[in-house]
């Protein structure tokens, strides 16, 4: 392995290339289809950086997705491909909305902690169902969690329609949650609330748990080889249950954070597709490493909010973000193929070489053939 790869590992090269490909895709689509190219590009790419409030809005919007992506990270590291975290998120955001709207006359110091507790409990309760079915009845956890998500979506929609709906709102949305029930703003006039702090703390804690903790070792060991885990006396079932409970609780917390200041109404069509998409992909992009999840969630939220802003401005479909996210993940997976990766590495090397050459013409003898780097690429 050469110096370049040491400083900038191939996995990071892959991630960066994939992100750039996603951005390039958006650029291309906008250039080819939008009549007002300049304005559209500005809205899409520069929008979140136009003001402090806009940037704060981006961070705030990414916060719930961070919780979801953290949940996905732990269950996927345990190789339990459960999507129950999405259901956890949905149910908890629905229940929290209902709880807050009903408890209108109660004081904030009671409502906010109680809502967080409800969210965690609801999230964990959802995740435990497919986990239990898998341990006890050997039901495929992916299948059962996806089916469960639809059940929950319908159930929460029912609650929305019959007990929370604001008839004055143009779409199927709940009444607005009063501001006094929102989480406290930690940086004034940015919209960045206490939830962001929680998300950052959760990322750090999960990172330590997974890579520096006993439970994390168990999670990764069960994920890597269930037979090894059985052989050394780790109970795969117990580890899988704990992992999924933890993930569900995190996603539930994300649901509460979403409702308490990010998205003050529960909107039928709002939370589900965007957040779940961002949550899962953000985890996939960084190989389920919690330390990088916030950055990754921020990137996908950036795509999503750019597309939403563009859609509000000119009616361009916001699904552009979903397509771009798909491009990101496809490129990422393609790069895992050694041959594709090889040419990419060469590209980056050339890039680095070009910069180095511009800075100084000395120290040019350190390059090594690309074939050797491939050794490090193989996973």
């Amino acid at each position: 392995m050469n110096k370049f790869n040491e400083k900038f590992p191939p996995s990071a090269q892959r991630r960066l290339t994939a992100c750039l490909a996603g951005l390039a895709f958006c650029l291309l689509v906008i250039l080819l289809t939008e009549p007002a190219k300049g304005a559209a590009l500005k809205t899409f790419f520069a929008g979140p950086f136009s003001s402090l409030a806009a940037f704060g809005g981006l961070i705030s919007a990414a916060t719930p997705a961070v919780f979801l992506a953290l949940g996905v990270s732990v269950v996927f590291q345990c190789r339990r491909y459960s999507f129950a975290v999405i259901g956890s998120f949905l149910l908890s955001s629905g229940l929290v909305t209902m709880f807050l709207l009903r408890g209108n006359e109660k004081p904030g110091w009671y409502l906010i902690p109680a809502a967080l507790v409800i969210a965690v409990a609801a999230g964990a309760a959802v995740a435990v169902i497919p986990a239990w079915l898998a341990v006890r009845r050997r039901v495929n956890v992916t299948l059962s969690s996806l089916l469960l998500n639809y059940l929950i979506l319908q159930a929460v929609s029912f609650l929305l329609m019959y007990s929370m709906r604001d008839p004055a709102a143009g779409q199927a949305a709940s009444f607005e949650i009063p501001q006094r029930m929102w989480l406290a703003e930690i940086i004034p006039s940015t919209g960045i609330r206490f939830g962001t702090l929680l998300a950052a703390a959760a990322a750090v804690i999960l990172y330590l748990l997974l890579y520096h903790g006993r439970l994390g070792y168990g999670i990764r060991a069960v994920g890597a080889s269930e037979s090894l885990a059985g052989y050394v006396g780790l109970s795969a079932g117990a580890v899988a249950m704990t992992t999924q409970l933890l993930a569900g609780a995190l996603a539930g917390l994300g649901g509460a954070v979403e409702m308490m200041g990010v998205q003050p109404r529960y909107i039928w069509n709002g939370a589900f597709p965007a957040i779940s998409f961002v949550g899962v992909l953000a985890a996939v992009l960084v190989d389920y490493n919690p330390a990088w999840v916030p950055l990754s969630a921020l990137f996908f939220t950036y795509l999503w909010s750019g597309a939403s802003a563009l859609s509000a401005q000119s009616g361009f479909p916001a699904e552009l973000a979903l397509a771009a996210a798909a491009v990101v993940v496809l490129v990422l997976f393609a790069l895992r193929d050694a041959r594709v990766a090889d040419s990419t590495v060469r590209f980056f090397e050339k890039l680095a070489r070009g910069r180095k050459a511009a800075a100084s013409s000395a120290d040019a003898g350190s390059e090594k053939p690309a074939a050797e780097q491939r050794e490090g690429e193989v996973e």
């Binding site: 890597a224 090894l228 050394v232």
Partner: protein
């Protein structure tokens, strides 16, 4: 094939200068110590790795397969260590798989069926054409794969240490099949570290050492000693000797243990015995006599129908592995999948599962990474696990190193009881001698050891006392093993000790 060079640094094995010439219809052995580069060399031939230099000719034409698929197209088939059959298809369907030119071209299934049936008959295969692949034994599956490769028109079939997990009778069947296939003009490259297998099967043997092929000999002109010498340049490890056992308290008590197998047929039938601290009790018997099940039940990997297993008078009969491990029971039970090593985890993570869960290896509530690394490095050094770094994935380990890793993990845990099922299986003689020495050290430190010996040499070297199982029942007990005892009659079920004699083993 001449002078293949490969700088293959990742897996800690480098091929420097390897050459091989194979004739049609020849069974050629590739012999070498573990880590000599045999597997890497074979991976190059089968297109899995690219060589850095050298030439490769097939039937007089230079070829350079870039992938296993391409190699298969050229007629070079390497059989995987794990079965490559589709479990949910029948033997016949597996044989037909991949025969159509593209996904849509029709198959003449009737004709093919006839062909496959005739083929199975011609080669005297045990499985029928309609048997599901998942019901096949490992040996039958391998034989089916050999035949499939032949049916697909392979010129060269490569087998990489296929017999590691088979009993002798089963290798006999495999060898007969290989000879028949070779007689049809197919070249066979047989990779192994077992001198005896080589001499029995192969026409020619190429010896490999440190990534270099050192010699090619005709099997008829050589002797086991000569081959062994060529395989390891330095002298063989001195024969392991043990002192007299200093017996302590009774650690393990098994009373009236019974288990059932798949077909509701008793596998163990009222087995009773005891093992004392500082004693190696060897359990011997035919492969189906229940030795393996006995080990699994004591370890907590399998459950019993009746009877009791006690460790220091703690009843562990119903306990899972977690429970038995808590009490200080270690076990080393090798299986075809080598379940004890996870290739996706690092060597350190594979080596230290008990330390990872031990509070002594934590600081401020988090794992003490430096202490863990120091311990991993110490064990890697002590057990001579060949790797560049403890953080590498365990996938890079050679077979012997993986076995040494398992031993290091299980032995270093200060066990009160060690269950060792054929602990040196598939390893080179050097590694086997090393592991035997470690087992004796462990015994001298006062660990009770329940051993199912890998072979008779190991029995003679290690056993303090012996128990013979026949069809799940205890048929003999020898309180002292001098070596060279005649146990065949007991093993084959021709004679059996009296109840009083057998009760002598059930001391409290």
């Amino acid at each position: 094939m001449e002078h293949i060079c490969k700088a293959y640094t990742e897996g800690f094995v480098t091929i420097k200068d390897a050459s091989l010439t194979l004739m049609q219809g020849e069974i050629h052995g590739l012999l070498g110590e573990n880590g000599a580069g045999k597997s890497t060399f074979v991976k190059i031939i089968s297109g899995l790795l690219a060589p850095d230099g050298g030439t490769f000719e097939l039937m007089g034409k230079p070829v350079a397969p870039q992938s296993p698929v391409e190699a298969a197209g050229l007629g070079i088939v390497k059989l995987q260590k794990r079965s490559g059959l589709v479990p949910s298809l029948t033997v016949e369907e597996n044989m037909l798989l991949g025969r159509q030119k593209n996904s849509f071209s029709p198959l003449d299934r009737k004709k093919m069926r006839r062909e496959v049936g005739a083929l199975l008959e011609e080669f005297h295969m045990d499985p029928g054409p309609g048997d599901l692949a998942l019901h096949l034994t490992a040996e039958d599956a391998l034989e089916t794969e050999v035949l499939k490769a032949y049916y697909a028109g392979a010129h060269l079939i490569i087998l990489d240490e296929p017999a590691s997990y088979f009993s002798l009778a089963q290798t006999e069947e495999l060898f007969t099949l290989l000879r028949r296939v070779a007689a049809k003009g197919v070249a066979i490259l047989y990779v192994s570290n077992q001198v005896r297998e080589m001499l029995e099967l192969c026409d020619k043997i190429t010896v490999m050492e440190g990534g270099v092929t050192t010699a090619t000999l005709a099997a008829a002109d050589t002797s086991p000693q000569q081959l062994q010498r060529r395989m390891v340049q330095e002298n063989k490890a001195p024969k392991v000797r043990k002192t007299r056992a200093k017996l302590g308290d009774t650690v393990l008590k098994v009373r009236g243990l019974s288990t059932f197998g798949d077909a509701q047929r008793p596998v163990l039938n009222k087995v009773s015995f005891s093992v004392r601290a500082g004693e190696i009790l060897a359990v011997v018997g035919k492969p189906d006599s229940g030795t393996r099940e006995l080990c699994e039940v004591v370890a907590g990997l399998a459950s019993a129908v009746a009877g009791k297993v006690l460790v220091f008078d703690d009843d562990i009969t119903g306990d899972s592995v977690h429970g038995t491990r808590e009490l200080g029971v270690s076990f080393l039970i090798s299986t075809p999948q080598r379940i004890g090593v996870a290739p996706a985890l690092s060597i350190q993570e594979n080596l230290l599962p008990y330390q990872y869960t031990n509070p002594a290896y934590r600081s401020h509530g988090l794992l003490d990474k430096e202490k863990l690394k120091a311990e991993a490095d110490r064990l890697i050094e002590e057990y001579d696990i060949r790797c560049a770094d403890a953080q590498e994935n365990a996938a890079v380990l050679s077979t012997s190193s993986a076995q040494k890793l398992l031993a290091a993990r299980e032995f270093s845990n200060e066990p009160v009881l060690l269950v060792a099922y054929r602990p040196t299986f598939g390893t080179s003689e050097e590694t086997a001698a090393f592991l035997e020495k470690k087992l004796i050290e462990l015994r001298d430190e006062g660990t009770a050891i329940l051993l199912v010996p890998t072979d008779w040499d190991e029995f003679a070297t290690l056993a303090d006392s012996a128990l013979v199982l026949d069809k799940g029942q205890v048929s003999a007990y020898l309180p002292k093993v001098q070596g060279g005892e005649e146990l065949d009659a007991y093993i084959n079920g021709e004679s059996r000790m009296s109840a009083e004699e057998l009760e002598a083993v059930c001391f409290e």
